[in-house]
Structure formats: C-alpha cells, structure tokens
C-alpha cells in the first residue's frame, strides 16, 4: 500500500454555527496527482488552510507528509509548496525579487528550475508584480512553488482566473513537473475537465463533506448509475451505493462497483431496473452535488483508496 502524503481523520472546522468542513477523512497517496473537486463554498479552501496550519481544526486531525499539522507545521511547510486561491503577492516586487525573497526559506531551492520554468512559462521576471497580467501572476506562483523543490504541491484553484490557453499551459507544466520529480500534487478545482485531464485520484466535496474519494480510472470503469422504479426501494448508502436520489417511485443509485449484482438484487425485490449506465466524472459530480432532488450521499469512496493502491 502506498504511503499517504495527506491523511485526515474526522477533520472538522466550524465557524460559529456554520460547519465549513465536517468529519473529513481524506487519503492522498504519495506521488500522485489528486484533484479535490467541489463547488464554491464546499469547504475545499478551509481544508487546505487546515493542512497548512493557516486555520485550526475544531476537531479531528490531519497528517501531511507523515507529520502532524499542529506541532510540525514548520517542518511540513519546509517540504510543501502552496499556490493560494488569492493570487496576491507583494505588489512592488518583481518576480526576480520574489525569487530572491523565497529562495532563503528553502534549502532545497532549485535555481535551474527558476530558469527553466520562467522561460517555459514566459514570465517577465523584471516587471513589478502588480503590473503583471492575471495569468502571469498565477504563473509566478507556480514558478515559486516548483522551484522550491517540494515533496508536496498544494494548489487552491490555481487556474480559476486563467484563460483556457494559459490554464492549459499551466496544467501541462504542473503535470510534467510532478511526473519528472515524483512529487505529490493536491489541487482543488471546480473545473472538472482539468481534474479529469491530469488527476489520478479524485475527491468530491460538498457542503463540508467528502462525498467521494476514488481513483479516476476506477470511476470510469466501475461506477454506474442505476435507475430503478418500484415501491419500498432501499434508500440507504453503503460502500457499494454512493448516493441515492429519489423522485417519486423512481430512484437513481450511484453504484461504485458490482452494479449488475446490485441491479439484480433490486429486481429480486420487485423493482424495475430501467437503466444501467456508465458515468464520466462530470455526471458523477453533478449527481452527487445537485440540489433539485433529495439526495442521500455518504462518504463511501474513502474505502477505494487502499484497495486500489495496493492492487
């Protein structure tokens, strides 16, 4: 079984009466690219803040690179690069000066990486940060993160303000660098196509809860949507049934594995199974987080990480 770069256990964060993150059990294997999906306000940024020691958990614990986030914060930050959701840096400093500033914090700093990525990303290194375009400002963040020589890259909606071309370039460099150096990448996004393109693992979060965590390939090959009509259909979730959406007598089950067996079981109980379809990440995401119909979702996907990575 792979070692985990990030793991959380019952991680919870409340802001007054609002539960931003609830009982989060996250498992990010080392050396993988993990896409952390969710709508705006799902709790992704709060989770990332807790991982980096920018926010204190209300309860639960988190381990990053095998270290406890609270006592080992500085040791974690030594080996972790972070690209924040807010792409704001010191406005008067140039990227060259920001490199000079950041270099002193990290013994693993790589000046050749600065040279390589500044050319690759075409960053104007001598222009003041506040005079750079949004795209170039984000690229500066990526440059600083990549040059740090970190074992773990945490990126919070890195492409949110980028045009498709720049976002594409950004992801290409990110994925290439991660593959080259074997580091772990944990990035949050609400752009499904980006996650689908580069991620190996996916976590879907909504309203503070992790609804799904799985290997992307498993989602494509195993996950099925089963639509059944009948009376007294089962409405509970399990490790096999990730969510159930009801609409009158009709139920839509999101099944993680052995869909045919589950459909046969429904049929034995008198239900009419009208459809069994394979799903893409987009359909699964929409199915899990949509609000029009009552949806019962469980944190069932966490079970998949161990089994997938050990196989």
């Amino acid at each position: 079984m792979r070692q985990l770069a990030i793991s959380t256990e019952g991680l919870t964060k409340n802001y007054g009466p609002t539960a931003a993150v609830q009982e989060l059990n996250l498992h990010v294997p080392c050396g993988t690219i993990y896409g952390f999906l969710g709508r705006n306000g799902a709790g992704k940024t709060t989770t990332i803040k807790m991982l980096l020691g920018l926010a204190r958990p209300t309860s639960g614990s988190a381990r990053v690179l095998g270290m406890d986030t609270a006592p080992d914060r500085i040791a974690i930050l030594q080996r972790t690069a972070f690209v924040s959701e807010k792409k704001t840096l010191y406005p008067l400093l140039t990227p060259k000066e920001l490199v000079r500033f950041s270099r002193g914090f990290y013994p693993t700093w790589d000046d050749t990486a600065v040279e390589k990525y500044s050319q690759l990303l075409e960053i104007p290194m001598t222009q003041r940060f506040d005079r750079l375009s949004n795209g170039n400002q984000t690229k500066v963040f990526l440059l600083l993160a990549l040059a740090q020589g970190a074992d773990l890259l945490i990126l919070d909606e890195p492409t949110a303000a980028l045009d498709p071309l720049t976002a594409d370039e950004f992801l290409r460099v990110l994925a290439g660098s991660a593959m080259e150096r074997g580091c772990t990448v944990f990035f949050s996004s609400h752009r499904l196509e980006e996650v689908e393109r580069i991620a190996e693992f996916v976590g879907v979060m909504d309203r503070g809860r992790l609804l799904l965590e799985s290997r992307l390939d498993d989602i494509k090959s195993e996950f099925r949507l089963i639509i059944a009509v009948g009376n007294s259909l089962p409405l509970h979730t399990s490790s096999q049934v990730l969510s159930v959406v009801t609409d009158g007598d009709c139920c839509r089950y999101l099944v993680t594995h052995a869909a045919e067996g589950f459909a046969a079981q429904l049929a034995r109980n008198g239900a009419t199974v009208t459809q069994i379809t394979s799903l893409g990440l987009r359909e699964i995401f929409l199915h899990l987080v949509r609000k029009e119909l009552p949806c019962i979702s469980g944190n069932a996907g966490a079970t998949l990480v161990g089994s997938s990575s050990s196989s």
Partner: protein
C-alpha cells in the same frame, strides 16, 4: 532575506523621513544666514525633532506591519517555513532601526548646524524647556507610539485601522489621565512621563518595556490568527 524584503518595502518612506530629518534645518539656517539658528535655535530644533520622530514612528510602524500582515499577502508569508513570531519581530526591528536612524540623523544634523553658529543644541539659558532629557523623552515616546501602532496594525491586519486605533488609544489615554486627575486627583503617568517617584531613567526604561510588550501581544495574536 526576509529582512531585505522588509527594507525593500519601507525604504522609500525611510528615505523621505531621512530627507526631512537631514535637509530643512541646514537649509533654513543657510537661507537666514544663521538668523534662525541664533534666535530660535535650540527651541525650534527640539520641537522639530519631536515632530519628526513622532511622525516617522507612526508612519514606519504602519508601513512595516501593513506590508506583512494584511489579508492579501498573509497566506503567502505564513506558509513560509518560519515561525510567525519571527516575521513579527523581524519586521518590527527593520522599522525600528530606520526610526532610530532618522532620529540620530536629525539629532546630528541639528547639533552640527547649531554648533556652526555657536548655539548649544541641547541647552538654552533663555528657554527652560530645552534640555537633553526632552530629546530622550521624544525618542521614548516615538518608541512607544511605534510599537503600539505596529502591534495594532498587525493585530487588525489593516493599516488605516491600526493607525486610527493607535492614535485613538493615545488620545484616550490622555483623556483618561485628565479625567482621573479631575475626579480623584490621581496622576496617571503617560508615556514618556516619570512614573511615580521612580528615577527618570528607570521610568523611561519601563515605558520601553511596555512598548515591547505591545509587540509581544501582537506576536501572540498573529501566531494564533487564522488566515
């Protein structure tokens, strides 16, 4: 490297205050052919010194803290592998050093200009108000104001709010002291006044310690702050 960045952020304000500390006195003395130096000399010098170091204290404190601890950039700084206490004290030290340099330059320039026209910078027979102690008190007051403004700006993570709160607290302390005196005839010492019957030197040291306590409080608050 962080000290370099703090210097990089504040240097223009420092240069402006340095120019204000160094240039007006010799220019005024030269323009008046020494008249100002001979007739208003040490008294004017003392007042300008107090004004300059006080203004520099408030401005540098705000600038030092605002660059580091505002919401916009705190996430970047506080994900660097150093304790937040380090950032608070390093930033404070850079600004404080600049403040002391401004004070020292103003003092040296004033002393040199007045000496050129045969006037003593620190004593004047006609004006009882002029004494070396006033210069020390001005520096202690500047230190107090600098630390309070820096601490409040760091805690509130907003330059205007920090500066406003600091000025408000200073004014509030004067108001409270006046009210106590009027109502109960109690003398509440204000920085940099003598505290009770303590020796003056010890009083000034205590005011500096109180100022440093403000920074300690800011450190604790910043360390516990959620970004």
């Amino acid at each position: 490297m962080y000290l370099w960045k703090c210097w990089r952020d504040t240097r223009w304000f420092f240069f402006v205050f340095l120019a204000i500390a160094a240039l007006p006195m010799p220019m005024a003395a030269f323009a008046s052919h020494g008249g100002i130096a001979r007739y208003a000399g040490s008294f004017a010098f003392q007042n300008t010194f107090v004004t300059i170091v006080t203004a520099a204290a408030y401005a540098l404190a705000t600038i030092c803290a605002i660059q580091e601890f505002t919401d916009k950039t705190a996430h970047f700084l506080f994900t660097k592998p150093r304790s937040r206490g380090y950032f608070v004290w390093a930033s404070w030290i850079v600004g404080f050093t600049e403040l002391l340099i401004v004070a020292a330059v103003n003092l040296l320039v004033g002393w040199r200009v007045l000496a050129h026209y045969g006037v003593s910078a620190f004593t004047e027979a006609a004006a009882q108000d002029v004494s070396p102690r006033n210069f020390v008190e001005a520096v202690v007051y500047a230190c107090f104001a600098y630390a309070l403004t820096f601490a409040l700006t760091a805690i509130l993570r907003n330059g205007l709010k920090g500066l406003g709160a600091s000025l408000g607290m200073m004014a509030g302390m004067i108001g409270v002291a006046a009210a106590l005196q009027m109502r109960w005839k109690v003398d509440l010492p204000l920085p940099p006044q003598q505290i009770g019957h303590l020796p003056i030197a010890l009083s000034e040291c205590l005011w500096v310690i109180v100022a440093l306590l403000f920074v300690c409080v800011a450190q604790v608050v910043v360390e516990r702050a959620e970004i």
